[in-house]
Amino acid sequence: MSIDSEVSPCGALEDLLVLDLASELTAFCTKVLADLGAEVVRIEPPQGERLRYRAPYYHSVPHPEGSLHHLHFNANKRGITLDITHRQGADLLRRLIETADVLVEAYAPGYLASLGLGYGHLQAINPRLIVVSITPFGQESPYSQYLATDIIGEAMGGQMVINGFLVDPPVVAGAEQAYHMTGLVAAAGTMLAVTARDASPERGGAHVDISMQECVAMTTLQTANANYYAWYGAIPRRRELAPHMVNFHRCQDGWVSFFIQPVNWGSFTAWLQELGIETEVRGEVWADAYYRVANPQPVAKAVADLCSRFTQQELYHEGQRRGMLCMPINSIADVVADLQLNAWGAFVDVDYPELGECLRDVAPPFHATETPPRLRRPAPRLGEDNEAIYRERLGLSASELDALRAEGTI
């Protein structure tokens, strides 16, 4: 049941109340749910959750309201403060649970139970509750109590070993992709549990168990398919640093990705011919796709030669015109300026009155004719919704709230 009855009925999940025991591992999952219209209430300790203290900051000024991680991940959410390690804090959480649909949390397995807030405890209060537990290794792994960050998830999930070049250490993906992939899977898992509850209301809620390591492992399914090892004993690793990298080429003003589908090989060789590029790969034997896969360097060299003659944009548009899967390798500045992304609507301006400006952020990446994403509010200030939720919703008096603040529970 939603707290905010004034949410416009355009969000697909507008009737759902999601409590987010805020952490880096829950942030993206609950953002996806919030962007679909769910009422997400972010619960953080009175001094603020860790994401508020991560650089980079707005104008590089460290401030708990200015962390760009916080402003990005927590837009569209409401925010209250609560210390659940205090007995009264745990009691307040139990009261919030009574009417919640989903609780998302990322504590080490067993921790919430030790506070009397485990799945069993909470289900007794609200049999319809769905608890989504997101951890680095899952509830039952031998590593379930291990500390992990994004890089550890990428390493243990098998992705780092196939990232980068053999001459270098394994390298992590940029922009914390283990956290992001985990958030996407957890959001889908939340929706599955909601669907299950809708389908069988008598069964009540469920406990969903998401492991960052497993989520990362899914991303290795093609490049490091398990059957390479099972059938051949082959262990995929990162690439050799070759003179010409297959699929990635320098051009006059940057780099492009350049993928030639077998069906368009003729179009590529025609282009080489038009440009007067003499290369062995224009020969007949190279028309065989398997031969090209077995002998990648001459092909890569020919592509490199072609790319060296053009700018990124020239290669992009002319390549696409000729059926090549060619795209620029964009910087963040290029991405924000991109013609197609802007025309499609990939960015959204978020108004931050306290900062005195609108910030352009990435928009939820979908259009839906009935339930489009909608930005309802910017990221919450610390404790911004304490009054609304503790007083209006739970009926606490002003003096009770003051007392809770004084003892550090809120």
């Binding site: 780092m160 991303t219 059926g323």
Partner: protein, 405 residues
């Protein structure tokens, strides 16, 4: 323990192909949906042809390891929708389906007469989800790409790796694995909306914007601060040490992520360098960042003496976040927690066995596994006969005409 099958009453008419699409309908099938994968010899799912095959079976389109992993639990029909009769049969299937999916270029379904406008005429509450590369709208909407070029266009390549190297980005075709889970969420949200309101809808979730949405803080760093984030290898501005450190053996690495001063103190003790804990040059993250080469050298001097797993366990016991760089061999043979939870062996009737990923979505207390991917056209009889009521003769004739093909 029973399987969780919350989608048992849902039918998906599935035009997803390659990887990004099928991994979405895979999850739906894993949790009970009847997913009818529409294939055709006329338009082969290229993933059946590229990847890993059992020895001696390189030309067998039913034996591809990646295809079998991406398409667990689905049904397969062969239906040539280029033919009017094929389109007609397809629309008959739409009438009894809840969702129609595809990841083609945006004009493809329209050109077949199977666009959203066409579908709602036969089923007004149909949900159609399209996952094109660029979008259903926009001047470059018909440009093509796959998972090897999308991350670069989205900005991920220039955020990944060591700055002096070619920007090859993330090793796997990364966007192929993220986009599908977003599609799953959107499909389930749309189904729920339909159940509550009676209204279906058209959803456009393009792969390039979806990948850009995974770079949020970097986008804000540019739009708010004017800073274009670059590549930093394994380093982070707000953690030190943070990276991969060589261990004993060939290509074995321990990853360490020290995010707090307390963890730094504990690390110094664990690696036998208590004097570093007291050294003002390393007293804070900012200070350590100024001497990062020295910090990293000290860590690697220790890890180089360790077996990677020992290093991980020792550091974790000391309260320091650490892990190892696992290979597929590690994941299958020595990481027991992962292997049992995440992998399973799925067999075809003739005995070919595939090591397959289970779904990373788990319900506590429920038995989770996956069913095998379909042989091409395996379910023609079930779908055309049992679901659509065609006779045996009609089916034979449609096969001869190249419609069921």
């Amino acid at each position: 323990m029973t399987r969780a099958r919350p989608l048992a009453n849902i039918r998906i008419l599935d035009f997803f192909w390659l990887i990004a699409g099928p991994l979405a309908s895979r999850t739906l099938a894993n949790f009970g949906a009847e997913v009818i994968k529409v294939e055709s010899a006329h338009r082969l799912d290229q993933i059946r042809e590229t990847g890993v095959f059992p020895a001696g079976e390189e030309a067998n389109i039913d034996k591809n390891g990646v295809f079998n992993d991406c398409n667990t639990g689905k049904l397969s029909i062969t239906l040539n929708v280029n033919r009017p009769k094929g389109r007609e049969l397809c629309l008959e299937l739409v009438k009894i389906s809840d969702v129609v999916t595809n990841n083609f270029r945006p004009d493809r379904m329209d050109r077949w007469g199977l666009g959203y406008r066409d579908l709602v005429k036969v089923k007004p509450d149909i949900i159609m989800l399209s996952m094109p590369v660029m979008g259903t709208t926009g001047p470059l909407r018909n440009y093509g790409a796959n998972g090897s070029v999308i991350p670069g266009a989205a900005g991920l390549n220039l955020l990944t790796g060591f700055p002096n190297r070619p920007p090859i980005g993330v090793g796997p075709l990364y966007s192929d694995f993220t986009s599908p889970y977003l599609a799953v969420t959107l499909i389930l949200a749309a189904l729920r909306h339909r159940d509550r309101t009676g209204r279906g809808q058209f959803i456009d979730v393009p792969q390039v914007p979806a990948t850009v949405s995974l770079l949020g803080p970097a986008i804000l760093e540019y739009t708010a601060n004017g800073i274009v984030a670059g590549r930093a290898g394994n380093r982070r501005s707000d953690a030190c040490p943070h990276g991969a450190f060589r261990c004993q053996g060939e290509d074995r690495w321990c990853v360490v992520a020290v995010e707090t001063e307390e963890q730094w103190q504990r690390l110094c003790t664990a690696i036998g360098r208590p004097e570093m804990a007291a050294d003002p040059r390393f007293a804070t993250i900012e200070a350590r960042k100024r001497h990062e080469d020295e910090v990293e050298a000290a860590v690697e001097a220790w890890t180089a003496q360790q077996v990677d797993l020992d290093a991980m366990h020792l550091l974790q016991a000391a309260g320091v976040p650490a892990g190892i760089v696992e290979t597929v061999q590690d994941m299958l043979e020595s990481d027991y927690g992962l292997r049992e939870r995440h992998f399973t062996l799925v067999s075809q009737p003739d005995g070919t066995a595939f090591v397959t990923h289970k779904d990373p979505i788990k319900f506590v207390g429920r038995q989770e596994t996956v069913d095998r991917a379909p042989i091409m056209g395996e379910h023609n009889e079930y779908v055309f006969k049992a679901l659509l009521g065609l006779s045996e003769d009609e089916i034979v004739e449609l096969m001869a005409e190249g419609v069921i093909y």
